[in-house]
Symmetry: C2
Subunit: 121 residues, 2 copies
DNA sequence: TCGCTGCATAGATGGATGTCAAATTAGAGC
DNA sequence: GCTCTAATTTGACATCCATCTATGCAGCGA
């Protein structure tokens, strides 16, 4: 596994305005869609969930792989998709590879769905 | 368009725990993935953005269609996907159909990405 | 160095998805 | 009833995607 940390992210500038805010540009929409595409698979959601909720904040691929009835290459593929979306990031330590969530990304997404003043007019 | 409001939602019980919280069940993951799949297209994201940020809280399909270089059936298809994900909901008034965002859904998603205590150990 | 294990990549394949043209339904007005 | 317009549905098609098998690569220990 070369350059685990140097993958070019699909969505680098996906930022802060909520969906109920100013109009998304075509480019912003495309970048955001990339992030959501990464989240649009049940296996990847559970992987992210396991990683984000892991003790020490990180999870070993060896543990993740065993949690699904899928082959190791398939899990590896899903982790790569999450990584390219900037949602997780990985590090090799000796024989094993550990992944952790990228908190900035999650916070950013949280803000996306914020509602304005909740105009219950 | 029969029963605009009676479509069975893909994700009915997608709920409240953050991704960094307790383990998602297979079913929860599948439901959530459905919602994100609906968000994983740039056109749908822009549609949702336009609807959520529209004055009066609603947007006419006739306006939405003109904003893209896509045919009306394609826009209609995307609106249906958003509708089935429970993110928007539509109403016919006379000749035109109006869509509005479903705030509970957006709020719910916001909570998904909330971080726990931000353990900056 | 050799073999073993953990993880990633490459290539192939069946199934899902975005798009369009054509046909269909619903309302409004004559 | 007839026609016009708004919106959806249907069916077809090209592309994308999740998964698998086979292969490659990096560490570790003998």
């Amino acid at each position: 596994m070369p350059k685990l940390l140097e993958l070019e992210d699909v969505a680098d500038s996906v930022c802060c305005a909520p969906l109920s805010g100013p109009a998304l540009s075509e480019q912003e929409a495309a970048e955001l869609a990339g992030v959501f595409k990464a989240l649009s698979d049940p296996v990847r959601l559970r992987l992210l969930n396991m990683i984000a909720s892991a003790e020490e904040g990180e999870a070993c691929v060896c543990d993740l792989t065993g949690a699904f009835e899928l082959t190791a290459p398939t899990i590896s593929h899903h982790l790569k998709v999450l990584r390219q979306a900037g949602l997780i990031d990985g590090e090799r330590r000796g024989t094993w590879v550990y992944y952790r969530a990228v908190p900035e990304r999650l916070t950013r997404l949280s803000g996306l769905f914020a509602l304005p003043a909740l105009t219950t007019s």
